[in-house]
């Protein structure tokens, strides 16, 4: 597992063992691959909302991926914005921000999952097309939940609990 800075030294992503790309690049690559999107929808037909056709859903997902790119570029370019405007706690009942809080960034059916290091520093652990209400309902979203928890455990094991200890760890890893 490698942690790489991807956007303006504020947004970081994990590059997992055996992967050529960090999670953001990998996911945006997947969501920009029409064959992957249609194949995913064909395999998950039962989760497509009744009022939508598969063709509509594939078009929506592509547009949602464009919107995620745009939103993050916008946040990182503007000084009056920060990443907390995009990411929010994974568990809606989390009122007090916890150390290494589990977060989600969403755009309709697409999700980026991340750990919150500080107010404007996040670490992306993965992402998914989420068509069901809970992450536990489908194997591919459960896997993302497991990745989030594993990343948090890993950072805790490295004594990372805030921004300073996060950067101290990254310096040691260089």
């Amino acid at each position: 597992m490698k942690i790489v800075p991807i956007f303006a030294q504020k947004l970081f992503a994990i590059q997992y063992e055996g992967e050529d790309e960090n999670e953001y690049d990998r996911l945006l690559g997947l969501w920009g691959d029409t064959e992957y999107l249609v194949d995913f929808l064909l395999k998950n037909k039962r989760d497509i909302p009744d009022r939508r056709t598969l063709e509509e859903m594939a078009n929506f997902l592509r547009e949602d991926a464009f919107a995620i790119d745009d939103r993050l570029l916008e946040i990182l370019e503007r000084e009056d914005e920060n990443l907390s405007f995009f990411f929010q706690p994974l568990h809606n009942q989390e009122y007090q921000t916890q150390v290494l809080s589990l977060q989600k960034g969403r755009r309709y059916y697409l999700r980026l999952y991340a750990l919150k290091i500080s107010e404007d520093i996040f670490l992306i652990t993965g992402g998914a097309i989420k068509l069901t209400r809970t992450m536990q309902e489908r194997r591919h979203t459960q896997k993302e939940l497991d990745k989030l928890n594993a990343a948090r455990d890993y950072l805790r094991d490295q004594d990372i609990f805030d921004e300073d200890s996060f950067f101290e760890f990254l310096i040691e890893e260089l």
Partner: protein, 147 residues
Amino acid sequence: MTNKEKFLKLVSQKETKTVERALARKKRRELLRFSSQVAIKILTRLDELKWTQKKLAKEMEVSPQQVNKWVKGNTNFKLETLLDLGSVLGIKLIEVPKTQPRVFKSDTLMSETSEYENEVKIIRFKNDVEVFKTFIYQNEFRKKVAN
């Protein structure tokens, strides 16, 4: 110097190409959008026909690799390819909108459309709205004349 500052100094040259890639996608957005729309049509039609990409390659007399490139949604299609693909699959993949006279009558209203619709909807008022207004006016006019 904080650890963050130290890190930023050390890592400044090491940032990944993520931003560059996102900007490149943004620059090519219209082409990617069109190409992906075509790819979705091809893939859903293949599913309907129960054809494999290999079968389409055979029908189109191209390599399976070429077909796979088309369905990724990242291709700058030639018009001829789109017309041939449409003919083989029995669907329309490209269409030039017909030119329509831009007449905005008083009984039409342009309304905002939902996020995923490209076109502007033109909603026609019901005819009786106009007729009703005219009727009132005529009555008032007649009343004045009568007075």
